[in-house]
């Protein structure tokens, strides 16, 4: 693929996704396309379906209709994704949860090394070197041997981003990344996301934070009542 194509080809295509939970419809034909190198902010009021959409892209929610394609891997609505499809999907998508969800029994560096070693077969020494690079790049290398409960909210979030990027996924999803950050930390996060963009990464973030989205997103997509406006 030519360099220009790589810069413009869609990494994520969400087409007509409908997702029901019992009698309640959460997503009603949502459709979004995110191109390589974009930082798309998914905005909308609480309950509009932002987080559910991210979870569906990450393969954590099955959906009744529509299609989600991530860098060549397709999830089809109305059928259970196979184990192979999910395995392929998880090489394409990294996710940073609102509450970080770092593994409580592992140190920061162990959190970052876990997937490269066990899910991707990297040698532990190589995974540790990569983890060190990421933690250094995100300014938390001095906390490498701290447990999650010993980290501040900002530190935990940086470690969670490092963990998600450790296997170099084409798409990074972030759920409410600014929810627990003060203004200074929000600014630092924005700078970090810009660095990621500069490295050619693609990001889709769900957020309530209008100012943050306006300042750092390359595009804003709005949702309401389960639909993309």
């Amino acid at each position: 693929m030519a360099e220009t194509d790589r810069m413009t080809h869609p990494v994520l295509r969400i087409a007509d996704v409908r997702l029901d939970r019992g009698a309640r419809t959460i997503l009603t034909g949502a459709a979004v396309e995110v191109t390589s190198g974009e930082l798309v902010a998914l905005m909308g009021p609480s309950g509009s379906g932002k987080t559910t959409l991210l979870r569906a892209v990450a393969g954590l929610e099955s959906f009744q209709a529509g299609r989600i394609e991530v860098d060549g891997v397709t999830l089809q609505g109305g059928s259970m994704a196979t184990r192979a499809t999910l395995a392929a999907l998880r090489r394409k998508v990294g996710m940073v949860f609102q509450f970080h969800c770092l593994f409580e029994h592992l140190t920061a560096v162990q959190n970052v090394c876990l997937a490269p070693v066990h899910a991707h077969g990297l040698r532990p020494a190589d995974a540790a070197r990569r983890a060190d690079e990421l933690l250094t790049a995100f300014g938390v290398s001095h906390r490498a041997h701290a447990l999650p409960r010993e980290l501040s909210g900002g530190e935990a979030q940086r470690v969670a981003i490092a963990r998600a990027l450790a296997v170099d996924p084409p798409l990074l999803l972030m759920d409410e990344p600014t929810a627990s950050l003060d203004a200074i930390r929000r600014g630092e996060l924005g700078a970090l996301l810009r660095e990621l963009l500069a490295q050619g990464r693609t990001l889709l973030i769900a957020t309530h934070d209008e100012d943050f989205a306006r300042a750092f997103a390359t595009r804003i997509v709005r949702m309401e009542d389960g639909a993309v406006l």
Binding site: G59, A119, L147
Partner: protein, 509 residues
């Protein structure tokens, strides 16, 4: 908010106290002494011809000890009243005043003479060897049983004889808590001989085929009644009643009725009536027994065997806990991840084990299944404890697995870990930390529950202590030593668990 329950408690405190006192009184089944009643203690589990529930009327007791107790009570002008006491607790029960006399085929021993007021002997028995029919020509005496296992009832003269024979002939003494299972284990081949008195051996042979009672007498002993040491006048009155019963033939009639009258009894009666001193037992060296040492000297003598029994306890507990953890993890994993059928079966197992007493499970495993699977005692004890504790452990692990937050599991899944990796790398380790404290509690509980396996003839710490206490006639020093050894085993476990918990909580930054 706190004041309200406190006020409510004050209002109900007298009622609550009355309830507790009433409940304790109700549970305290031993009747208090009253002038018209003669309380006598025995163990109906010993069965006929001593004391047993009448098969036709289970509320009525019968046996020669029942008739002797009735004879004594009537001569004293009182009504006999039975107090049910476990055989090996009768001495202590009499000493603390639960009944006026203990009668249940109780042997005359130097320790009983020293610690209680004992009556004159009223029956003479012989310690005899029982062997399988096929071995009748091979095992005639204890000396023939080198390297073999010989069973008997715990805390008896026969057990002392076997311990001595263990030193002299290299046989292994196996201690039972009842006099039925030694014979069934003999027939099953778990042991090679039984040493018990002729009354018990003859009784058992009537219902259990397959063994022969050797004619040689290993030792001679006597049955006596035991009275509290400070009630010598009562004992003297009872002695007079027993002598009269020997003279007028009423004691002979009782023994003839129960088919235990033999040639040895007239000689015994003659010696008792003539006032001839009668040795507690003949055929065993009673001078080197614990009677002739202080409790502390006896403790020094028993300490090595208590330490050996502690090793059995700790090894059994560690192995059982290890197996319980493995089986418990498998059950918990099956219940969390398995299909509906597996979940149903595993839930059924857990409820079955939790809903039935561990003692029953041990009995079923060792004796109940003996016809199909003849497990050695230690293996049955290990398996019984492990399978029982596995059910409890599985509940701890299941709730610990379910307590790991969904967020942790989803984070692991989005990183590309397989479900197995999620379990082994994330969910399992976190659940283990949650389960550690209850697991430690369970291990300490298992350490103490391991005393139950003494019913399967495993010589662990509590059983060894019981033997020690029976032989010295007191629980004070044996009890203190036993408690010390249990604490020495359980405290390090608790300390280790605390240190692990602290390490996992300690900031590392």
């Amino acid at each position: 908010m706190l004041a309200r329950p406190a006020r409510r408690f004050r209002r109900f405190a007298p009622l609550f106290t009355a309830f507790v006192v009433g409940a304790i009184a109700a549970v305290e089944a031993q009747p208090a002494e009253s002038p018209g009643v003669f309380r006598w203690a025995g163990d109906p589990e010993g069965g006929a011809p001593f004391v047993e529930a009448d098969p036709a009327h289970p509320d009525t007791l019968e046996g020669f000890d029942v008739e002797i107790a009735t004879l004594i009570a009537r001569a004293l002008g009182r009504q006999p009243q039975f107090v049910n006491v476990t055989f090996w607790s009768i001495d202590q029960s009499i000493a603390r005043g639960d009944a006026e006399i203990g009668l249940s085929g109780i042997e005359d021993t130097p320790t009983r003479r020293a610690t209680l007021a004992v009556t004159v002997p009223y029956y003479e028995f012989r310690e005899v060897l029982s062997v399988r029919d096929a071995d009748a020509g091979t095992f005639r005496t204890l000396a023939d049983l080198r390297g073999r296992r010989v069973g008997t009832l715990q805390g008896t003269i026969a057990y002392d004889i076997l311990l001595r024979a263990g030193r002299d002939y290299g046989l292994e003494a196996v201690s039972y808590e009842d006099d039925v299972h030694p014979f069934s284990d003999l027939v099953l081949g778990r042991i090679d001989a039984v040493l018990l008195d002729n009354v018990l051996a003859n009784r058992r042979r009537r219902t259990e085929p397959g063994f022969t009672i050797q004619p040689q007498t290993v030792a001679v002993g006597h049955y006596i009644g035991v009275v509290a040491a400070d009630r010598a006048p009562l004992r003297d009155s009872i002695n007079e009643i027993l002598r009269n019963a020997m003279r007028d033939g009423s004691l002979e009639r009782i023994f003839r009725k129960w088919n235990v009258w033999d040639d040895a009894q007239p000689g015994l009666f003659a010696r008792v009536l003539a006032g001839t001193p009668i040795e507690p037992a003949t055929g065993i060296d009673t001078q080197s027994g614990p009677l002739h040492t202080t409790q502390w000297q006896a403790a020094g003598r028993y300490l090595p065997s208590l330490v050996r029994a502690s090793v059995v306890t700790i090894v059994l507990s560690c192995l059982s806990m290890g197996l319980a953890v493995v089986v418990g993890v498998l059950i918990a994993t099956g219940r969390v991840y398995g299909g509906p059928l597996a979940r149903l079966a595993l839930t059924g197992y857990v409820e079955l084990i939790r809903g039935t007493p561990i003692l029953l499970q041990l009995f079923v495993l060792y004796y109940g299944l003996a016809a199909a699977v003849r497990l050695p005692a230690f293996a049955a004890a290990l398996l019984g404890l492990a399978l029982n504790y596995a059910a409890y452990e599985s509940e701890i692990y299941r709730s610990a697995l379910e307590a790991v937050s969904t967020g942790q599991l989803e984070a692991a899944r989005t990183l590309g870990l397989s479900e197995r990796q999620v379990l082994t790398l994330v969910r399992g380790p976190q659940a283990f930390r949650l389960a550690l404290a209850p697991m430690t509690n369970d291990f300490v509980a298992l350490l103490k529950d391991s005393s139950l396996v003494s019913v399967l003839t495993v010589m662990e710490l509590t059983k060894q202590t019981q033997i020690f206490a029976t032989n010295v006639g007191s629980w004070v020093v044996p009890g203190a030593l036993c408690a010390g050894l249990y604490l020495a085993m359980s405290l390090p476990v608790a300390a280790l668990a605390r240190s692990l918990e602290t390490r996992w909580r300690k900031p590392t930054a």
